[in-house]
Amino acid sequence: MNWLRFFRRRRRDAELREEMSAHLANEIEDNIARGYSPEEARRAALRKFGNPQQVRERLWRESTISWLDSLWRNGKHSVRALRRSPGFAVVSIVVIALGIGVNAALFAVVRGVLLKPLPFADPQRLVRLYEDTFNHRFAYNSSAAGIFAEWEKQRHGFSGMAISRHSAYNLSGTGGQLPENLEASLFSASMLPVLGVEPALGRNFSSAEDSPSANGTVILSWNLWKRRFGGERSIVGQTILLDGRGYTVIGVMPSWFAYPSSTVQLWTAASHERTTKEMQALDNHNFQAVGRLKPGVSLTEAVNELSLITLRIHNAHADNPFISSEAHGRPLLESLVGNVRTPLLILLCATGCVLLIACLNIANLLVARSLGRRRELAIRTALGGSRAELLGHHLAESLLLSLAGGALGFFLAYEMVQWFVTLRHDVPRADAIHMDGVVLAFSAGLVLLTALSAGLVSAFSSRDDQVLSALQESSRSYSGGQARAKLRRVLLTVEVGLTVVLLIGAGLLLKSYARLRSSDLGCITRDVLTMQVSLPAARYDFPAAVHFYQELLTRVRNYPGVQAAGLVTTLPGDDYGGDSGFTIQGRPPLAEGNGQLALTRWVDPEYFAALGIPFQSGHAFDHDQFLVPGSEVIISAAFQRQYFPREDPVGKTILTMGERPYRIAGVVGDTLYSIGEQARPMMYFPIYTLNSKNPKDFVSGSALVVRSGQDVTRLALPVQKIFQSLDRDLAVSDILTMDQVIGAQTLDASFNATLLLIFALVSLVLAAVGLFGVVSYLAAQRTTEIGVRIALGAQRNQVLTLILRDGLRPALIGLVVGLIISAGVTRLISSMLYQTGPLDPEIFGVVALTLLAVAVAACVVPAWRAAQLNPVTALRTE
């Protein structure tokens, strides 16, 4: 196959013609020289040469690549045919663009998040390691540093192990920059070697630096380095102030490095940052452990080994129920993206359905077109067009449409991915999502698949053995198209069925989301502003912190427009926030291995009033409990339900926070720690007290809540100014209204529900269009028949019912099939549902009614038009 030859056919042909005429001229001259008359010489030469046209044709054919040539010819033909019906072309291209666009975009997301290996060395051998919770409720609990230390000492199956812990720092402003609160992660010195990553600049922590006695060292993220330090290489070796203490910058990570998440902006050495006591604690589950499996060791073997170690420690400390007895592990990638896996795959299935529906619709439109062009096709067949050529023609047309749609769709996908990445930076590994060559190849595959499926369906609907009948039929109209329309009805049924499944999925998710949003958090959420503050330990001791808190609250409360203000360590709905074990004084000891846990919160006395959390019994904290270890606790209703079901807890004493006695002062209403979860037992301690006898152990970070009667966002700036006037170097972060806090918590649910709803609506519109098209076509086919019926006395409404029934049958069958399939598959999304059953009758009912209404609406227009037919014109048309 010679491509050059193929594309230079025309030039070669011209050359050949000139060459041959020169040849003839030579021959004629020779003949004249032999003594022929000029006329005879010419004739003899021509006779000898033969037919020059044949030579040209032969060369032309030899240099032609036949499939390419026929493709080109079919392409030209299709462009011409499509240009004649631009409406059809535009509709098809848009439908395909939508179908391919959403699929390519979601594929890019799934590939970036779920499929791409982690950017670490040999990532398939990296595993996240967990301890079981003491009550075996949750297998993937964080690890205690003390347990981890034992693991590391006794391990055999791992070539390396490391831990990290979440943290945050106040970065002091230098050179006119504002102070900033930064998310950080504490790494053990072994973390980077285990991951197999080197800093882009500088070096990793040495093991000497990963100890309490060393000087502070920090590694910066690429972004922080660029943004805050101008990307200057000389930063390595310099000292920066974190929480008011000096840290030497020893390295900068590469820009792609985002462990444990992309929001982390700096890393410090774990053992340097946390107390030796915490690093040795066996029951303080605050750390995330990773390990690198030795080659040839399976995850199960390695984890079983850790389980044995853990169980041994557990048995050696039988008096402490919070030491776990079992270890678990899973691949690191799975631990990072496990939460988004199901939703992403569900969405991918949904987009697959949308594409399938788009394909069916295109096939449907193509069938309709080929039916309209039966006469043309029949004539082509009669003139000797082979079956393969006609098939090629069908495919060329659908390929052309798919290519145009695919190109537009790829562009759409690009936009959608941009939108997704900006909207959902909470999705892990969102930074790994790119439109790259693989996504392009995937889209190209989709284009081919669409072209093939749509083209083949329409090609096989027009059977070429019916040439004669097609020619006859078009000369005299009768309803012979009925049989062909069967295929379109089947396509429609499938379309409607898929649409029903999508609609039901979307309906269930929407209902869940509505339930989530309307779930009662247990406090006032309207016009409440929240912001986080953290007091640097270097500058604040306990009295200074208390002074700061009190001064802050006084000034905020006195600001015009503020109705109430309070402090709490973790906002309602803002997640777990820490817990503690406790025992109730005067009760018999718990059976060995059992423990009681409650979530812990520290609040100022006015917090409950500020958020409208009601007291069910007892009273708030006294204002005078300053500067001494606290002795009072307030418990939540769930706490009372679970641990004091039949008695009044007020006045009873519990032992907690290091076995110290706390008298229960009151019981308040439940607030949810996480939207969509049951309320858990909660204990509140006064924020103005020491947590223990250690004067350094006080609450240094908390959230300020401000309630107002009007638009509370207007208070954001003045309140920030109050902070600044109290401490110029203090960074305030996460300034959000309570509604925004809830919104962030339910973003995932709203996002999934919205997307699925969009997909379902697109499908519904496509199905309606398809239905409309088929019914219109059927009605047009039966024009004569209807004319005869009306002429013979059929009532208009009889005709209406006739056509309606014909069109509604595929819709009804599709609906029933769709409902049955939905009942089978909605269980798959039950993990994404909240207070909504996978077989929610309300949603099933609403979807069925909606679909029926849309189907009737799509059928009624063509049916009504048919019923209005004037029999005289109808019969005269032919």
């Binding site: 050359e15 060459e19 041959m20 001229a25 033969g50 037919n51 032969r58």
Partner: protein, 119 residues
């Protein structure tokens, strides 16, 4: 679409390329000269069909065995001249050797057959 071929032409098909190459060893020539030389040197037994000559020339050029240029002829008419390339020379050598082997072999077979028939 296969064309009907006569026996002589079929015979020529395998050997036309070789003869063209051979003709051009003596010097560059245009299509008409090549045809004339082949006809003359075969004692007018082989008539070169133009229908095969030109496609053959183009084919040989495509394979890089010939190169071509336009030049005026002896009677001042523009014609396309063909020249044997180095690759063409090598090909001619191969073809000639093959041809000799085959004719010798066929000659041996036919010679034995003739002798067998005479005795």
């Amino acid at each position: 679409m296969p064309e009907k071929t006569r026996p002589e032409e079929e015979m020529l098909k395998g050997t036309l390329d070789m003869m063209i190459l051979h003709t051009l060893v003596l010097g560059d020539a245009h299509g008409h000269t090549i045809a004339t030389i082949i006809e003359r040197s075969s004692g007018d037994v082989l008539q070169v069909e133009q229908g095969s000559l030109y496609p053959a020339l183009y084919r040989l050029e495509d394979r890089g065995w010939l190169s071509s240029y336009w030049n005026p002829t002896e009677n001042n008419r523009r014609a396309k001249f063909y020249r044997l390339t180095a690759a063409g020379r090598k090909q001619l050598l191969r073809e000639t050797q093959r041809w000799q082997r085959i004719t010798r072999a066929i000659g041996m077979v036919m010679g034995e057959a003739l002798q067998g028939g005479e005795s």
